[in-house]
């Protein structure tokens, strides 16, 4: 009986953890899709006489944004793991 309750408590904690993990991942993928696809779909429209915007986004902007996104994701995910006590000890 005690075991069963412990099990339920554990599994609901795990479920909540997974549901938060999932929504974080969807957020990451949404941002990723914008940086990876939506921006570049604009193509030539990013260019102006003052600045080669399309060249900048394809050659530098997207890459830097991806790197920031991954580090942000890693720290958010750590917080979620810690919130439910499911981080590595």
């Amino acid at each position: 009986m005690v075991d069963l309750m412990g099990g339920n408590f554990m599994s609901s904690k795990k479920e909540q953890h997974w549901s938060k993990t999932r929504s974080l991942t969807f957020t990451v993928l949404a941002v990723w899709a914008v940086i990876a696809f939506v921006i570049h779909w604009a193509g030539d429209a990013l260019n102006s006489p003052a600045f080669p915007g399309a060249y900048f986004m394809a050659g530098m902007g997207s890459q830097i944004a991806f790197a920031i996104l991954i580090f942000w994701f890693a720290s958010r995910q750590n917080k979620i793991d810690e919130e439910f006590g499911l981080e590595e000890k």
Binding site: K14, H17, W18, T21, T25, V28, L29, W32, I35, A36, F37, H40, W41, G43, D44, A45, L46, N47, F51, P52, A54, Y55, F56, A58, G59, M60, S62, Q63, I64, F66, A67, L69, I70, F71, F73, A74, Q77, N78, D81, G85, L86, E87, E88, K89
Partner: protein
């Protein structure tokens, strides 16, 4: 050394700091020797011999007979160093040698590779790597085999891994051959076998442990070699100290020149192109970004295929098996991307400054608009024409070199830039060492991925589950030598250009493995029948499509050519996997529990190696 191992990991900063200083000292020493009149060939030899000897030494010092060390480097690699090793593992001969040249010759559409090969890491970090680290597999097929159960699923994964990685590794061995033959002035075929010997020395005795620590050393060499010439050129041309910021002004200048020189308007004559063969003249602008649906679609599909491929290539994913925790596996993906950016953000700048060096009439090294006799007498033109990397053909017979009369192979943008821009030979030697490091480090990772899949998954898990550790590790090494020899043999046949084969590897991997890997973590309902259908169907459809457009003369559908056949394979794989999974029974409770376990970082690894 084995006793010092704990001490070694704790002292990584010191060890690699000293190593970096030592390497810079070596470069300066070579510069002094050059100034003292030592011949170029000797300097080239010294660069190759010195760096390869160091990698081999690290490989020998890291030898091991423990399976944990051999397959996953003991799972003790810190996030930053794993990031560096992944960057070297990732950046192949194609990234180092061919990427800047691709941007130079093909312009904006080619930059889809830059976006795809970096954005894929977001998928690695968020969808796959931390979960596979928690799972605790030795190889990628090990995950597929355990998650879905059964030898058939495992075998399908091994098969796709071997095809994708082997396609890739021949390109790398080809790259080592190209660089070695140029730097050492030896025949290409011999260069290929010398390159292979170096690669095997790094990986055979110590497996993943040895490859990890050599890859870190190789990253340091390749990034120094890539950055120095670009910084030099940016400053020499007067655009500024940091080429990454200076390149945007330079792009403006290149675009002015494009209008003046008729780039995009002036096409090579048919006879000249026929005489030039596979060499290409510059026909597109530097920043002619997509402005119609088809161009945008082609950019999009290439980015998507390269990203999904990044997240399915086993030699990359297995690097994250070596970190000391799930937490660090995630962080390590970020570090990998930062180290990769060190080169990828530099490639467009290199292409742009090379254009200025060649095209801008105000720059002394320019050749366009100069007389034919003057250009043909330049030393670097003669040297690279002799090896078939470039050709100047007076198409209209006016005695002046126009933009449509200068034909080249993309590779020379990196390999010949130092000579083109009039830098001392020591920089050329450095670039050769860097190209070699890039190709060798990727070949190491790929060979290990293939050999480990064959020894661990095919031999140990399927053929002889009772084999003891010693036998398994001996089998692993025999596989390594056999696969390496096979790769070198195929490379010496020179079947395809470096980049063609690389893009194929990405599409083979994403067609067959992307959805089985992702859904294995993210969809509990995915089962064995679905995964097998997804792997066989996706890979089969992709391979069939590649054959049709590349060899059977079919017109590509919607612009989906041989570089993008994952656009066919991936949807087939997804649909089959979902439909077949839903039509068959859901996985048993034990498997579902296993999926729950890999979704949380805490607790023991799931796999039982």
């Amino acid at each position: 050394m084995i006793k010092l191992e704990g001490g070694f990991v704790a002292n990584l900063g010191k060890v690699y700091g000293l190593y970096t200083l030592g390497f810079l000292g070596f470069v300066i020493l070579m510069g002094i020797l050059e100034a003292a009149g030592v011949e170029n060939t000797i300097i080239g030899w010294m660069f190759v011999a010195f760096t390869v000897a160091i990698y081999a030494l690290i490989g020998i010092l890291s030898r091991t007979m423990e399976s944990d060390q051999y397959y996953v480097a003991g799972r003790e690699v810190p996030a930053v160093y794993n990031g560096m090793a992944t960057a070297a593992d990732w950046m192949s001969g194609a990234s180092f040698i061919a990427m800047a040249g691709g941007i130079y010759l093909k312009g904006y559409p080619y930059m889809a590779f830059l976006v795809g090969w970096t954005g894929g890491y977001v998928l690695v970090a968020s969808l796959i790597a931390p979960y596979l680290r928690k799972f605790g597999a030795y190889t990628v097929p090990d995950f597929i085999g355990t998650r879905y159960g059964g030898n058939l699923a495992r075998f399908c994964a091994v098969f796709i891994l071997v095809i994708a990685s082997f396609t890739y590794v021949t390109a790398q061995i080809n790259g080592t051959g190209t660089v070695a033959s140029r730097a050492l002035q030896i025949p290409f075929e011999l260069g290929v076998w010398i390159g292979l010997a170096g690669i095997l020395f790094c990986s055979m005795l110590g497996g993943m442990r040895a490859v990890t620590w050599t890859q870190v050393a190789q990253y340091i060499v390749l990034i120094i070699a890539y950055l120095i010439p670009v910084f030099w050129m940016s400053n020499k041309l007067g655009y500024g100290l940091i080429p990454h910021f200076a390149q945007f002004e330079a792009v403006g200048r290149v675009q002015e020149l494009e209008a003046q020189l008729g780039i995009g308007a002036l096409m090579p004559t048919a006879e000249a192109q026929a005489a030039a063969g596979k060499l290409a003249a510059l026909k597109v602008g530097i920043n002619d970004a997509s402005n119609n649906f088809m161009e945008k679609w082609k950019f999009f599909t290439l980015v998507l295929c390269m990203m999904a491929g990044t997240a399915s290539l086993p030699h990359v994913l297995m690097r994250y098996f070596t970190t000391d925790s799930v937490r660090n596996a995630r962080k390590s993906v970020g570090w990998s991307l930062l180290f990769i950016c060190g080169l990828y953000l530099t490639a467009p700048a290199l292409a742009t400054f090379t254009k200025l060096s060649l095209l801008d009439p105000n720059v002394a090294t320019s050749i366009i608009g100069k007389s034919f006799s003057e250009v043909s007498n330049l030393e670097w033109i003669q040297q690279w024409s002799n090896v078939g990397f470039l050709k100047v053909i007076d198409g209209n017979g006016d005695g002046i070199v126009q933009i449509n009369e200068f034909f080249m192979r993309g590779d020379i943008v990196v390999l010949a830039t130092p000579e083109m821009a009039g830098l001392p030979y020591v920089i050329s030697g450095l670039v050769a060492a860097g190209g070699l490091a890039a190709a060798m480090s990727t070949a190491d990772g790929l060979l290990l991925a293939i050999a480990n899949a064959l020894s661990h998954d095919l031999y140990y898990k399927i053929i002889d589950p009772k084999a003891d550790t010693k036998t398994r590790l001996i089998v692993a090494r025999i596989m390594l030598v056999l696969i390496g020899a096979a790769g070198a043999f195929v490379a010496s046949l020179k079947l395809t250009s470096i980049l063609g084969a690389v893009a194929w590897a990405f599409c083979f991997a994403n067609s067959g493995l992307f959805f089985p890997l992702v859904l294995g973590v993210w969809w509990k309902r995915a089962n064995r029948a679905g995964a097998i259908a997804g792997m066989v169907g996706g890979f089969g459809a992709g391979a069939w499509y590649l054959y049709m457009v590349q060899f059977a003369g079919m017109t590509p559908w919607m612009g989906i050519d041989g570089l993008r056949f994952g656009m066919i394979g991936m949807p087939v794989s997804l649909i089959l996997m979902v439909v077949v999974s839903l039509m068959t029974e859901e996985p048993d409770a034990e498997t579902q529990k296993m999926v729950d376990e890999i979704r949380i970082p805490s607790g023991k690894v799931v796999s039982d190696n």
